[in-house]
Amino acid sequence: MIVAKRKPLNEIAEMLAPYKKVTVIGCRSCVAICLAGGEKEVKMLVSALKVKNKRDGRKQHIEGTVVERQCEKEWVQEIEAQILDSDVTLSMACSLGAQTIGDMYPKHLTFPGLNTGMFGVPEEQGVWSEKCVGCGNCIIHTTGGICPIARCAKSMLNGPCGGSANRKCEVNLEVDCAWAAIYDRLKLQNRLDLIESVTPAKDWSTSHSGGRRVFEREDAKLTPHQKKGKGVT
């Protein structure tokens, strides 16, 4: 899932200060799971900002709402009136949600309330860790199901670097060496021969290095006729 973190509240308060009417919009998907922008976080933020405004004597109307998935136009459309009725929208979703609202209502101001961080998984309660960078060409079937691109600080493809010591990464001694983990996993799976196979230099054009990516699936796309709402042709 996408893991994000709330921006510092002083930064948020500063962004919103010039505006009289603010709508804070959360998202019930990834950012709710990582406790950054779900219903509860929206309520807490709205309350905290109201307390701040009361303290500063600032007249500002703030209200909060939450949608199922802010990155999908259909869900955002349901609260269109609320968005357009405000001077500014603070998105408590990942950057995708904020940009969806921004693209749908380009004249309307939409600010980010979160810093979008990574593709991660919940390791334990309150801990999320990065496991994928979305490089566009997955190779984890050859690395025991562990991604060396995301989990190795140097994204090494053919074994550990010289800085790996005692199963730890030289970049951060708290972090396990991804290649030590890959070795263990392949050994467990009785596939250690894979560690000796050479992976050629990676083609990064499938990653962000190739520019903005757009995925399409022809069979799922609507025909121009369908887009006009005239049914299946």
């Binding site: 510092p8 002083n10 309520k43 807490m44 309350s47 900002l49 701040k52």
Partner: protein
Amino acid sequence: MPDTRPKIVGFCCERHGMDAAVLAARSGKQFEASVRLVQVPCTGRVDGMHILRALEDGADAVFVLGCLEKNCYYDTGSIEGRKRVGYVKQMLSELGLEKERVEMFNAASSNSWVFPEIVAKMVEVVKKFGPIGGEKR
């Protein structure tokens, strides 16, 4: 005549926290504050949202009173409560507000002296910083 005393909200667990408050109240002690108590099953149930809502709705200070940490009826409830209070304190600090307005306390039900001390401490905080959004009372 309006009540100009500091407005304090206390979330007390129904075990030791509330018992300590009731014990103090039975002693007939008068407080320098308007204290509203909210009984909760356990301080582990108190969420940052509840604390902030109390401040938003007019409280000048909020405290959470739970069992002693090594004697919590629900084992780790008062530890959870302390963590939530800590998070709200961090939020208040980020906004340039006084984090002292929110505190976590622990008591055993037989500690009759604890509750008056808590109220006195929170009254001091409000006297020092004034009410939220107003002149010092």
